[in-house]
Symmetry: C2
Subunit: 157 residues, 2 copies
DNA sequence: TATATGGTTTATAAAGTTACGAACCAAAAA
DNA sequence: TTTTTGGTTCGTAACTTTATAAACCATATA
């Protein structure tokens, strides 16, 4: 694969990643920015470079960048004597992915428990189904804790 | 708690569940229908009952029910000599929740691998970060498989 | 002090989504 | 055959989201 082919594929991948995050509930431009910051060889982009590369307005870039920052997906570095911000992907701890999933799963579990609590018949079809789901969640949550430990352990190798 | 209090709380919970699924990308009415089918003591609802309970039009109900069916969240039962459909929560296997997550995670993993494949520098900051994420996914996927096995095992008790 | 740089905020246009009523349709009942 | 039941589809209004241009602002530079 020539360098040109590679770079062409990278640009195509930006669009694909954009659509991917779009489906995950992100706004289209934010998804594409994230794609840009992920796939290109260059990994630091200024505000102006982002607007040029993606052909978007300053305001769209400004709004999307703020959203991505709030979500904790990107951050920026500044250089002494340089007013520009250099945006890049946020290198968050991989284990925070698990922690997020755990939080969500606990929220669902609590909701399901409350539904059962309010049921007249604790052995109705839904009650039994929800209890099953809760039990499944508990198995997953237990193994998630193990996942974090396993991951931290494997990190040291 | 009196029965009236309980039922009042159930109705409040329907709205809360509606907002919950709304945030998960579902349309408001679909979320509320799902809430209705989850929390009430009655667990089988006809089309007409749904429109009455939630005070929505027939067309809204029709569209939302079709979407929920396609997503595999609900299904209906029919009775011999009765044209009505009795909608209820779909009692899918709890382990299918994991299988879905596994599918998603594998898609993300493949995307990350492809990004690295297209990088000029396989040891760039992003490459290293993405490799870390991939490794984390692999640990999670391994433990997910264990979760399914553990769950199936505990089911027999 | 005036001007350029690096953005943010505001107002609005364009597009997309949601929900509704009304018209419609197929099957069953009268 | 006509009417009722149990929905679906269509056209549209209301609302929400997205993206823009233009105005604005703070800091740095001339």
């Amino acid at each position: 694969m020539t360098t040109e082919e590679r770079i062409k594929k990278q640009r195509e991948l930006i669009e694909e990643i954009g659509r991917y995050f779009d489906k995950e509930g992100m706004q289209p431009i934010a998804g594409r920015i994230l794609g840009l910051l992920m796939v290109m060889d260059k990994e630091l982009f200024t505000f102006e470079e982002i607007t040029k590369e993606l052909q978007i307005s300053k305001s769209s870039a400004s709004v999307a960048l703020k959203n991505l920052e709030i979500r904790g997906q990107i951050e920026y570095t500044t250089l002494l004597g340089d007013r520009k911000r250099y945006f890049h992907l946020k290198n968050h701890e991989a284990s925070s992915v698990i922690e997020d999933t755990v939080r969500k799963m606990n929220a669902a579990k609590n909701m399901f428990n409350y539904i059962i609590e309010l049921k007249a018949d604790k052995n109705s079809k839904n009650s039994i189904f929800l209890k099953e789901m809760i039990r499944m969640f508990e198995v997953i949550l237990f193994n998630f804790n193990k996942s974090i430990i396993d991951y931290e352990k494997s990190k040291k190798d």
